[in-house]
């Protein structure tokens, strides 16, 4: 028999989470297709604390139980995130599915998670013991493996507010709706006074976890567009060509690789590099 819990506050949810082995259930769009009769489910849909989108000086703070539709309709959510969530599945799924679930499911194909990777977002994880804030890159340990502890819940995603405006996002799915990403790419490029001050890229759906290589992206930092184009571009692309080793899935590794490199090049070229 399935056990279910319907806490009405985060505190109550965390108390249950600390006490019992339960599966957090927000939108349920990933869970309902593999229902487990032995599982206990902790329903998070009554927790208004997890459904807010706010901002402070440093971050746009997105509650983990915000649905994709809520993000699409939010005035605070940045355009790059809206670009990604608006292409997830179909309206019915977007009305239920949440960013928190998308992240905690642990899939490298999660479309909203890719944007949080590309923007170096942080995750606020809470438990009855307290809370910790970690970079999203530390959350993912492998395919479907995360560092979420048995008593923890993801409460918020903290997106740094700077440099999000000049972005590039592309999802390649098998069709135009209800499609799992075959390749996804997100990039942001911050240019000040003709110089690149920050470049961040992330590749989804091609390996066990999202590929995010700040060490490689740093090659462009401090360069003018002209310098980047003439002196760094090819070396940068070569470095990624070595770094991206897609795994074979529903679609071949060769296809994924070419698409990744084409998109990365287009990201640069669309910025004049």
């Amino acid at each position: 028999m399935v056990k279910s819990y319907h806490p009405v506050s985060l505190q109550e949810a965390l108390a249950i989470r600390a006490r019992e082995a339960v599966t957090p259930y927000a939108g349920g769009t990933d869970l309902m297709i593999k229902g487990d009769e032995k599982a206990g489910y902790l329903f998070l849909n009554n927790l208004s604390e997890l459904k807010k989108i706010t901002e402070d000086g440093e971050y746009i703070r997105i509650g983990a139980a915000c649905t994709f539709t809520a993000i699409q309709e939010s005035e605070l959510a940045p355009a790059i995130l809206k670009a990604a969530v608006s292409q997830i599945a179909a309206p019915a799924i977007r009305n239920l599915g949440t960013v928190g679930g998308n992240i905690c499911n642990g899939s490298p194909k999660a479309d909203s998670a890719l944007v949080f990777w590309a923007t170096d977002s942080k995750l606020r994880l809470v438990s009855s013991r307290g809370e910790r804030v970690i970079p999203i890159s530390e959350f993912y340990l492998g395919r479907n493996k995360t560092s979420l502890q048995a008593d923890e819940l993801l409460a918020e995603i903290l997106m740094p507010k700077i440099g999000l405006n000049n972005y590039y996002y592309k999802k390649v799915g098998a069709r135009n709706a209800l499609a799992i990403s075959r390749v996804s790419f997100a990039g942001i490029l911050e240019i000040e006074g003709g110089r690149i001050v920050n470049c961040q890229t992330a590749f989804g759906a091609i390996s066990e976890v999202v590929i995010r290589r700040p060490d490689l992206d740093a090659m462009l930092s401090g360069k003018t567009i002209e310098e980047a184009k003439k002196a760094v571009k090819e070396e940068y692309l070569r470095a990624y060509d070595q770094a991206i080793l897609p795994i074979r899935g529903r679609i071949s590794a060769e296809y994924r690789k070419v698409v990744c490199m084409n998109l990365l090049r287009d990201f640069l070229e669309s910025n004049g590099i």
Partner: protein
């Protein structure tokens, strides 16, 4: 628009919209047991032994030894076993069924059964098959001479893949013994096919078998032959347990182990002399899978249209359906025609390029017209509306201009447009209707002045209850609500043939029209009257010989022209469909909404077949694309600009001028799509589906 075409609310609208419609899985009988099949895990093996766990009371294992009649499913030939004998021939071959009161226990038992196989070497590649199930050939003119005298001979090979029907409702059947009889009900297209098969497997007399069609959530051909197999298994289980047994397939089971469209490899050798096509020498190969099921008839249809809509004086067609150790293929909307129409249309495109023409120009030069001979020496007896259909599509799309514009593109996004011309032969191939089916219908007038239609054809979503009723109501001049139609039950309805081959409305609807005309003449107020009508072949038909492939393979043809416009993103190798236009001649639509729905749905299925629906076996013979996240079918968002037009070309011998409609819209989508891809990419292409991975190979220079 003709008066009959005016759309009405469908007869089954309220039941379906309110959720009251009962599908087979909605039926729960007292003492009912659940059944699940144990499918072979090996593509070819001898079964050495089967180790069963201890069975709880009330649980049974049902296998070949329990078949009271003959352990064969009657389809066309009877080589499909109800349960396997000693060898398994494909991954999925049904070995046994476990039945019992709790589905969970049944599943547990199933998992605990150990089958010991002695593995044999399977044949998975149709080119390596050593068993030809069926071989047909026919010819006209002198093909050898045409080849010898040709200035140039062009040889090309075309490939098409599997296609899965992906109906909403998976296969399901419920069988229950009572009073010395067996009743079988379920999701099916052809009640009398199931009836004959179950009688044979049970060793019952036909009168002791009753088959009822439940509301059926889509068939597309997938419920033509397969339900006969499942019905035999379920009936045998019900007989053994002496209780009702219900089997409902899971989606993965359904996608992996039930029939699909035959993959094909077609080779065309075309003789050209003095700038004229002088003949086509065509070799067609279909992958039957492990058993014959419907392969002979699928192959026949594919061969008859192998020369497309083109007039050729010299023609030689050879076709084989071969055995492989893979899932048996069967019926799917189009029934062999989409494969050969793909090949011939692509061949014409490629020939045109060689001859320095646009493909449409070449096609128009050879297009058949009324009075011309068919490939089998029959005749196109009626007006062939292709010329005006081409002009209509050109007006809608600016096709000719775009074709020119899209040559030699560079840049990230590249557009292309393609067109296909095709027909679908209406009704059974050859003389089947006259010699085998011999359809009978009845209508019964009740004393309360309602009229019931008694026919064995099933409404599987194509609106047949509504269109049949409209024909009868309009002919009698009574309101539609006074015409009654239930799901067919073989205890109540005569055998008016199966629900296949785009025949139901044209052929059976025609019989209903005649019956209604007679009833109108003989109408007696307040009395019960039963009118029966039998199939009669129209006078004009040149009798068809299946041994010689000579004569009218079909009394008439439905015609269509499709155009598809694409835009390829060269960075991702993905394709956006900018528009898909189809104009269709199905005679007079008996209901315009129903016909437009059929045309849109079928066209979209065809676009899926052309572009994204990919299914393959691995080295062990297992189909891995066995879920709807691994087997991609298109959604409305993939072709938002889908335009379907109907032209008026009444068929003199069809009810209200109607002819075959259901299959037509799927048949020509693949060549239109792939020709559009050629136009965008500037190369010749030879396969469907043509997927983003294929596009990427072209863009990377890996394909010629």
């Amino acid at each position: 628009m003709e008066a009959i075409s005016k759309p009405v609310k469908k007869k089954d609208h309220d039941a379906k919209m309110s959720g009251r419609a009962l599908y087979v899985d909605d039926h729960v009988l007292d003492d009912m047991l659940w059944g699940r099949l144990l499918h072979s895990a090996k593509a070819k093996a001898r079964i050495t032994s089967i180790l069963l766990p201890q069975l709880p009371e009330g649980y049974y294992v049902v296998d070949k030894n329990d078949v009271p009649g003959i352990n064969q499913v009657h389809i066309v030939q009877d080589d499909t076993p109800v349960f396997v004998e000693d060898t398994v021939e494909y991954v999925g071959d049904p070995i046994l069924m476990v039945v019992g009161p709790e589905l969970k226990q049944v599943e547990r038992i199933l998992k605990e059964i150990v089958v010991v196989y002695e593995e044999l070497v399977p044949v998975l590649d149709m080119l390596k098959s050593d068993t030809v199930f069926f071989k047909y050939n026919y010819a006209k003119g002198d093909m050898e001479k045409a080849l010898q005298e040709a200035d140039r001979v062009f040889i090309e090979t075309f490939q098409t893949g599997y296609q899965e029907q992906a109906y909403l409702e998976t296969q399901g059947m419920l069988a229950y013994p009572h009073d010395g009889r067996m009743t079988v009900r379920g999701s099916l297209q052809c009640p009398y096919y199931v009836h004959g098969a179950v009688a044979k497997a049970l060793g019952y007399e036909e009168k002791d078998v009753q088959v009822i069609q439940d509301v059926t959530g889509g068939g597309f051909g997938g419920k033509e032959a397969f339900p006969s197999i499942l019905a035999c298994q379920t009936a045998v289980a019900a007989k053994k347990a002496n209780k009702p047994v219900k089997v409902i397939f899971e989606r993965r089971e359904d996608m992996e182990f039930t029939s699909k469209r035959h993959p094909s490899i077609c080779t065309y050798k075309v003789a050209v002399k003095d700038g004229e096509i002088t003949g086509m020498d065509i070799d067609v190969l279909f992958n039957s899978g492990a058993y014959t099921t419907l392969s002979p008839v699928v192959l026949q249809r594919g061969l008859i249209c192998a020369n497309g809509v083109y007039r050729l004086d010299n023609l030689r067609v050879v076709g084989r359906a071969v055995k492989t150790n893979t899932v048996p293929c069967g019926a799917y909307r189009g029934f062999g025609a989409p494969q050969t129409f793909f090949a011939v249309e692509m061949m014409m495109d490629h020939l045109a390029k060689e001859m320095g023409l646009d493909s449409l120009e070449l096609k128009q030069k050879y297009m058949v017209k009324q009075g011309d001979a068919t490939s089998t020496g029959g005749k196109y007896h009626f007006h062939v509306p292709l010329p005006e259909m081409i002009e209509q599509i050109d007006e809608l799309t600016n096709y000719r201009e775009k074709r020119r514009q899209y040559r030699n593109q560079t840049g990230r996004y590249r557009k292309g447009i393609g067109m296909s011309l095709f027909f679908h032969g209406c009704g059974f191939t050859g003389s089947g209707e006259r010699d085998i089916i011999k359809a009978v219908v009845r209508i019964r007038k009740n004393p309360d002045e309602t009229v019931e239609i008694l026919a064995s054809n099933s409404d599987i979503g194509q609106g047949l209850k509504t269109t049949f009723s409209k024909i009868v109501a309009d002919t009698l001049g009574i309101s539609l609500d006074r015409v009654l139609i239930e799901n067919p039950d073989t205890d109540r309805v005569p055998d008016s043939g199966p629900t296949v081959a785009s025949r139901s409305l044209m052929t059976v609807g025609g019989l209903l029209r005649r019956a209604a005309e007679r009833l109108k003449d003989e109408w007696k107020a307040g009395e019960e009257q039963v009118i029966e009508e039998h199939f009669v072949e129209p006078d004009f038909v040149i009798p068809f010989s299946i041994t010689e492939f000579k004569g009218d393979a079909y009394p008439t043809y439905s015609w269509s022209v499709n155009a598809i416009e694409v835009e390829v993103d060269t960075l991702t190798a993905t394709t956006k469909i900018l528009g898909a236009w189809g104009t269709f001649d199905v005679g007079v639509p008996v209901d315009l909404n129903i016909i437009l729905g059929q045309m849109q749905g079928g066209f979209l299925q065809g676009i899926g077949y052309a572009s994204m629906e990919e299914m393959n076996c691995n080295e062990q013979g297992m189909i891995r694309n066995n879920s709807l996240s691994d087997y991609i079918i298109p959604t409305a968002l993939d072709v938002p600009n889908l335009v379907t037009k109907i032209i008026n070309n009444p068929y003199t011998h069809g009810p209200y001028g109607a002819k075959g409609a259901g299959e037509l819209p799927l048949v020509g989508a693949a060549p239109a799509y792939v020709e559009a891809m050629e136009n965008a990419l500037g190369v010749n292409l030879n396969k469907a589906p043509f997927t983003p991975e294929d596009t990427m190979r072209v863009l990377q220079g890996g394909l010629k």
